[in-house]
Symmetry: C2
Subunit: 323 residues, 2 copies
């Protein structure tokens, strides 16, 4: 039975643990925080509720062991997933402890949203076993995982990482080079920065911006990305024609290119009050349930359509479950 070690729980690490368990892996979990087990069981409960609704061919659940030391968690594990706080000195210390106890043959994936693998590897004696495996919340439902190797990671290790991540129902995308924040979070950061300007300048509220996304381009991007959407919109004249037409728009002073909004108390309070109004009394737990029910509905709806997350799931359901 393959074994995954989860080092660092929280919402992300706990969801990794849930994914591995539901796909039949044994999981050894380590997080010294006093409420770590409580969070783990809450997230695992959600994963057990939703994941079987999108994947019929799940194998039997693996066994869960909560470990009292990091070395006990990682010693015999095939995959070790690090999900500690986003501070480089913490990650270096934890990765060092992991590598002191784990097998040379194990793969060490980091959930870091910002650091490059070469930064994580700095000072390591075995940099070749560390790579970024960056997931998106909710990790038990969203298929995407960005795999980022440094030049020190062998292709064979990348291939094995992709294979393992596919086996736990994920869609691994291996980037061609490492950059801070990888790909998805760079795009999110660009949207976030622009959205903060829109709030700060009083152009729209959080609810209006969200409505424009959910009733507009969010529906596009659930099934075709930026480039295929524009290819489609460009019509029979083709992508080259579209780009030649669209290019000049970048010269327009549309976005607040050169400045970062100051997220000061005034702006924080404005966003908080608008977000409170938008939530209209719904708790975070209710919002999570809405989100997960919506995701399950969308994924199932897309299952038999082309070229989207659902098509991937459809393919997944037809793969023999790992035993």
């Amino acid at each position: 039975m393959p074994t995954a070690a989860i080092v660092g729980g929280g919402v992300i690490g706990s969801a990794w643990a849930s994914r591995f368990l539901l796909y039949g892996w044994d999981v050894r979990f380590y997080d010294p925080a006093p409420n770590a087990e409580q969070v783990l069981h809450a997230v695992l409960g959600k994963a057990r509720r939703w994941v079987p609704q999108i994947v019929e061919a799940l194998p039997g659940e693996g066994s869960l062991t909560v470990c009292s030391t990091l070395s006990d968690a990682v010693a015999t594990s095939d995959w070790i997933q690090e999900s500690t706080p986003e501070r480089l000195e913490i990650k270096h210390a934890v990765l060092s402890q992991i590598q002191a106890a784990c097998s040379d043959a194990a793969i060490v994936g980091s959930s870091t949203s910002g650091f490059m693998p070469s930064e994580l590897q700095a000072g390591s004696e075995r940099p070749e076993q560390i790579l970024v495996a960056h997931p998106y919340n909710p990790v038990y439902l969203l298929p995407i995982v960005e795999v980022v190797p440094s030049p020190q990671v062998a292709q064979d290790t990348v291939d094995r990482a992709e294979q393992i991540l596919s086996e736990i129902g994920m869609k691994p995308i291996t980037l061609k080079s490492e950059i801070p924040a990888h790909v998805g979070d760079r795009l999110l950061e660009a949207v976030w920065r622009e959205a903060l300007w829109l709030i700060k300048d009083g152009v729209a509220t959080t609810e209006q911006i969200d409505d424009i996304m959910t009733h507009g381009f969010g529906l596009r991007w659930a099934q075709k990305g930026l480039f295929e959407t524009y290819r489609t919109a460009g019509g029979e004249a083709g992508m080259k024609h579209f780009l030649e037409q669209f290019g000049p728009c970048l010269q327009w002073p549309w976005t607040k290119l050169t400045d970062v909004p100051d997220l000061d108390d005034d702006l924080i309070n404005l966003i908080v009050s608008q977000s409170d109004a938008q939530a209209a009394g719904r708790s975070v737990s209710e919002l999570e349930d809405e989100r997960d029910a919506n995701l399950v509905a969308i994924l199932n709806a897309l299952r038999h359509e082309d070229r989207a997350a659902g098509a991937f799931l459809n393919q997944l359901a037809s793969v023999e479950a790992r035993q």
Copy 2:
């Protein structure tokens, strides 16, 4: 019977015409381009195929009149939608012709993606009847429409515009102030700029970026926008805590803040070749059909869920169809 004039066809104007027709309005269509009628009928065919799959309560289709002069199209119309090329001198000339022939009581909506209503109104004797009504492609399926009044537009006119747009199955969001490119296209522009850097720097291909969107945050945004997603991710500690944690990220050198990528021939050719590989021989017409089938599947799946485009559609289906 209410009447809409469509001035300027193409993919956008033709889809506006289709929406009005399918929701029971009479439509008077004007576009002097030789292939305008052909495009109109192609788009109308698509709308007739897909829209009844998401809205059961459609009234009988209105009547379509293709007019040979602009004044004939607009003279007796209640709503006039201008969808001419994105050049201010063209829009000024067309709006002037429209206002010379239309009723004072009509609303003149512009599909402009970039210009502010005050720019469109400049030089007009009746600026108070011109506002931006900016839709998103495919206009016959995506519910969103950004309504942007200038200070010269009375609240009563905005109210009537929202009412009419709701009657043709749209979700109008009226911005609190006018800015170039409104809200949605500013967010799209931010993503587009960052994506061009990712391609240019060789970090990922068009297909990889699209996969990261469709298997990741695109699925989020089809049902919860940026702010509600982060509120949910922030957990019980709340939005304020989340913002205070997240704020510092903006100080990181994650995005190419201060520069616009040069969309030169090399970058255009790189995107075109990657996009061609990604399409794998599928024609634009096939891509459109995939897109529309996916959108219909998602919208129907979301119908009975909360707080998303589907919930809006659900509400729409329960409203008495306009007769």
